[in-house]
């Protein structure tokens, strides 16, 4: 392949003109090979040609006027380490040639036995081998550079646990130089880190796994895997340790933040609870005494005074409702530790029958699907959700034939999508988000009674059960609330009952 790009330049270093001529003739006969022969009869000349020209291969006689024996090879090799050298030798110095081979020569040939088939082949092989060796060296260098500079530690042991490789810039974090641990026993080196020693032992037993371990200030995640030989037998193990200190710290920070938030939320809920509670006390007094005033001084109060008092009374009732709902809101935000099976068919039946009076009063037709799946949650939250949605469906309905439908639209991925649908006044898309905020009302108080906490309670209760709620509606088009909740699964039943 190289022959097609540029001619192979063979540098023949030979001081014996007879030998030089012979070799030239052998090479000239070589078929279809663009070959350029350079000749040097001294080492100095050879070194000069090596440094200036692009020599592909050197044919080197070790006995030269200005250099003898192995020294000759060493000088040439040092001058151009990447150029393959074939040593030409006589019968008497094969031992030197073998030493040259050991020092990096590609081959050696007996001058006496050269022929036109063998010499070109030897040259080709030498060049190919050198190129292959160079590619391997380059790969090795690349790999080493990667390993040494990667923020990891790569280590390998033999089957006895002797460390054969331990590299990577991750070592710096624990103050170990690259390669410093090579040749030592992993069990001894990791003696103080039983996790790590255990991981090596398990890998040598054929297991691939990962451990996270703390070395000083540094947290490592260590993946170990057995290394197998060509027959599939365990020949050792390979481990990759990644510095996960940042991640571990970030996780710890996140956990702390979550803990803080949970505590604050819980504090806030308990605060809301006790504030709402304390607010009820003076309210009780206000309500009681305005009632006493009405009762005891009825004959002394004129129409206007009674109207004022009644207004105060209504405001009191309203305030009490709001406080009660704040209390529910505070309580509904608290998650229950244990999820139980809630029979939705029964729950919806109860919700509807609890409001039977209102249903009859407004002449509402109520249709409930027969195949409602059980959910994983608790009755308290589920009642808050469906009670409020059903109550709204009744309340915000002025249709000639009011209809409320409750059912399940789909069950997928462990979640059921329930719907509560009415043919009532509907909600403009503009308000689909806002209606879930507490004490948000879209209507004048005289039109529809209530405080506007119902949907806020629904949203909180749904969230406490790990679900979502969403509204499909347009003004005058009725409203469909979609509630997605986790369905009860049999496996969960066993676990909860066991607990």
């Amino acid at each position: 392949m190289e022959a097609q790009d540029k001619p192979t330049r063979v540098l023949l270093v030979e001081d014996n003109p007879g030998d030089a001529r012979l070799i030239r003739e052998l090479l000239v006969d070589a078929p279809a090979w663009a070959l350029e022969l350079l000749l040097a009869d001294r080492l100095q000349t050879a070194l000069g040609l090596l440094t200036s020209g692009s020599v592909s291969v050197v044919l080197l006689d070790l006995g030269l006027p200005d250099s003898q024996g192995l020294e000759t090879f060493l000088s040439v090799h040092a001058c151009a380490p990447q150029v393959p050298v074939i040593v030409l030798t006589g019968l008497d110095d094969e031992a030197v040639a073998l030493r040259a081979l050991h020092e990096g020569a590609q081959d050696y040939l007996m001058k006496g036995g050269l022929d036109s088939g063998q010499l070109p082949r030897a040259i080709r092989y030498a060049i190919e081998r050198e190129q292959a060796a160079q590619a391997i060296r380059e790969n090795e260098n690349l790999l080493r550079t990667v390993v040494e500079s990667a923020p990891i530690v790569l280590f390998a042991t033999d089957r006895e646990g002797m460390i054969s490789l331990c590299q990577g810039s991750g070592l710096g974090a624990v103050g170990v130089a690259g390669g410093a641990l090579e040749g030592r026993s992993a069990f001894q080196v990791f003696g103080h880190y039983p996790d790590l020693a255990g991981a090596v032992r398990r890998a040598l037993a054929g297991e691939t796994h990962a451990v996270t371990t703390q070395l000083g200030d540094v947290a490592y995640q260590v993946h170990v895997t057995p290394a197998r030989d060509a027959r599939g037998l365990i020949a050792g193990m390979i481990g990759v340790a990644t510095d996960v200190t940042e991640r571990t710290n970030a996780e710890a920070r996140l956990q702390r933040t979550i803990g803080d938030l949970q505590r604050k939320t819980s504090e806030l809920e308990s605060f809301t609870y006790s504030v709402s509670h304390d607010l009820k006390e003076p309210l009780r007094t206000l309500e009681a005494f305005s009632q006493f005033l009405l009762e005891d001084y009825a004959d002394k109060l004129d129409e206007q005074a009674r109207d004022y008092l009644e207004r105060m009374g209504r405001a009191g009732v309203r305030l009490r409702q709001m406080i009660e709902e704040l209390l529910v809101l505070a309580r509904v935000g608290q998650r229950f530790e244990e999820l139980v099976r809630v029979d939705m068919q029964e729950l919806v039946r109860n919700v509807v029958s609890a409001m039977q009076v209102a249903v009859d009063e407004h002449g509402v037709r109520v249709e409930v699907d027969r195949d409602l799946p059980a959910i994983a949650g608790n009755v308290y939250h589920a009642e808050q959700i469906f009670g409020n949605l059903f109550g709204n469906a009744l309340k915000f309905n002025r249709a000639a034939e009011p209809l409320v439908r409750i059912g399940v639209r789909s069950v997928a991925n462990g979640r059921a999508t329930f719907y509560v649908q009415d043919n009532g006044i509907g909600v403009d898309a503009e308000y689909h988000e806002r209606i879930f905020q507490v004490f948000q009302q879209l209507h004048k108080r005289e039109e529809y009674e209530g405080t506007g906490a119902g949907l806020a309670i629904v949203k909180r209760a749904v969230e406490a059960l790990g679900g979502t709620v969403q509204l499909e509606s347009a003004l005058g088009q009725g409203a469909t609330f979609l509630v997605r909740l986790p369905v009860w699964e049999a496996g969960r039943a066993a676990r909860t009952q066991a607990a």
Partner: protein, 139 residues
């Protein structure tokens, strides 16, 4: 009605408004029993121990100045002479912890103060029927 045996009732509540409301509710429900008022826990315990005509039933608020209703209850139950005194907690608290703690300390009943006066009156009537008519009080 007035058919009950007259029973001395001690009401322990620090709020003058609440005391007035309770008195009115007692009157309105025609519970004719004499109502003695203590404004805090110390006063209540003193009254129970020293009164010549000691109360036979106590209505006890939880949130009281100085010593809480629960502490009063604890002292009462630890006192041999008062251990059997019927104690009915009368509190605005809906907290489950408060309810549980009251029963744990030996309360006989727990009434949550209703917000609406009308409801308070109804509850007092039920209460009176039970405690003054159905239940047998210790002599």
């Amino acid at each position: 009605m007035g058919r009950y045996r007259p029973v001395q009732v001690l009401l322990v509540d620090d709020s003058p408004d609440d005391v007035m409301i309770a008195q009115r509710a007692f009157r309105a429900s025609r519970v004719v029993n004499e109502l003695t008022i203590a404004r805090d826990g110390h006063e209540a315990v003193e009254l129970l121990r020293r009164a010549s005509n000691p109360p036979e039933l106590m209505l006890l608020d939880i949130k009281l100045p100085r010593i809480s209703g629960h502490d009063v209850l604890r002292q009462v139950r630890a006192d041999e002479a008062l251990a059997t005194l019927p104690v009915i907690m009368l509190s605005a608290s809906q907290r489950q912890e408060d309810v549980t703690e009251s029963y744990r300390l030996g309360a006989n009943s727990y009434i949550q103060k209703p917000v609406a006066f009308g409801r308070f009156q109804e509850i007092l009537e039920i209460f009176a029927t039970y405690w003054f008519e159905v239940a047998t009080l210790p002599e």
